[in-house]
Symmetry: C2
Subunit: 224 residues, 2 copies
Amino acid sequence: MRTKFQEQLDALIDRLASMCHLAGQAIEAATDALVLADLPAAERVFDLNEQIEALRGPCEEQAMTLLALQAPVARDLRQVITGVHLVADLSRMGGLAQHVAESVRRRHPKHVTSGEAEQLLGRMGRLAGGLAGLAEQVLRTRDPELAAELDRRDDELDSLHHQLLDLIQDPAWTDSVTVAVDVTLLGRFYERFGDHTVAVGRRVIFLVTGEQLRSNLSIGVDQQ
Amino acid sequence: MRTKFQEQLDALIDRLASMCHLAGQAIEAATDALVLADLPAAERVFDLNEQIEALRGPCEEQAMTLLALQAPVARDLRQVITGVHLVADLSRMGGLAQHVAESVRRRHPKHVTSGEAEQLLGRMGRLAGGLAGLAEQVLRTRDPELAAELDRRDDELDSLHHQLLDLIQDPAWTDSVTVAVDVTLLGRFYERFGDHTVAVGRRVIFLVTGEQLRSNLSIGVDQQ
């Protein structure tokens, strides 16, 4: 029998999945903006980020309503606190997508970068979008296999990130330091976005099962 | 009359102040490591970060014990959740100090950078250490004036960060792209460290008074 607590927990997770969907759209739009120097796409990111931030307060309220329903016991408290961490992750993902869009806006109508660096960043962006989609699925299905898959795909993102840093440090790379600074920060934003999707997957599994997902990965997000 | 809830809240805040103290020591040691290419200082950062991480679980437990004492009402819940966000900020500050130390270890026995860039990073590091000290004082005194002072000093840190990025993008700057990549990331780590100290100040004031600290600043941390 489903309790009122479980029902409200499900309602919260559904709303978090909507936040995650928006974060995925934001990083996709930010990547379009980046590879096409497309200002309207960058503006869409700001709009999506506002939508994400608008969901944040209601999600935290909903998390607290969960507790107000009953005298708190350890596990319920832990679940609510995990829910609050999830809100923070998803909000940060929106913020990172916005940082990418800000970089595009700053250099417009020029491209932030070009050639292989732009291609690699584009691939990182597509992977990041895929990670957000997968994190959304984890929220919707609570499938631990999918959460583990997030870990694996985030490794691919990290690998592209290393390629990107190697590329711009190669003597054959002749762009300016300004471009190097932008590319370094963009790489970092995508990497952090990926870290947060992995954290989302782990937290959902913990929230639903009370069990930590086994992994040797250190995710460096605000809860490991 | 002080309630049991208030007593336990005070005990939690004391422990968070200890975490903040360690985070301040960590960023100071990381900055010593950076400006002196001092490997033992870098190793101290790893040790300090372990101590910070060791406090994290107990702090989260303590936050939950706060709630277990009584049927939760809105304000208490909000306080506990703010406490949980504080733990996350302080932990992240330790993580950022560690990123600085990792950069030093990667380039040792060479300096990561030199000249004016190293000096600016050193100044950013001292400011970041000062911000951590101030955040610790806010935790210990709950003084909203000190929390506002955090905002102001973080502006100085942001200003040094802009100077740093301008410096390495100046045509007169002749170091390699590898150095530019490192300097860009180090600048970002210090900037984020500062953002989290500002967030700590605001959260403490909210936790203690239930009031948001007035500010137009957007701190871009996981709760504004």
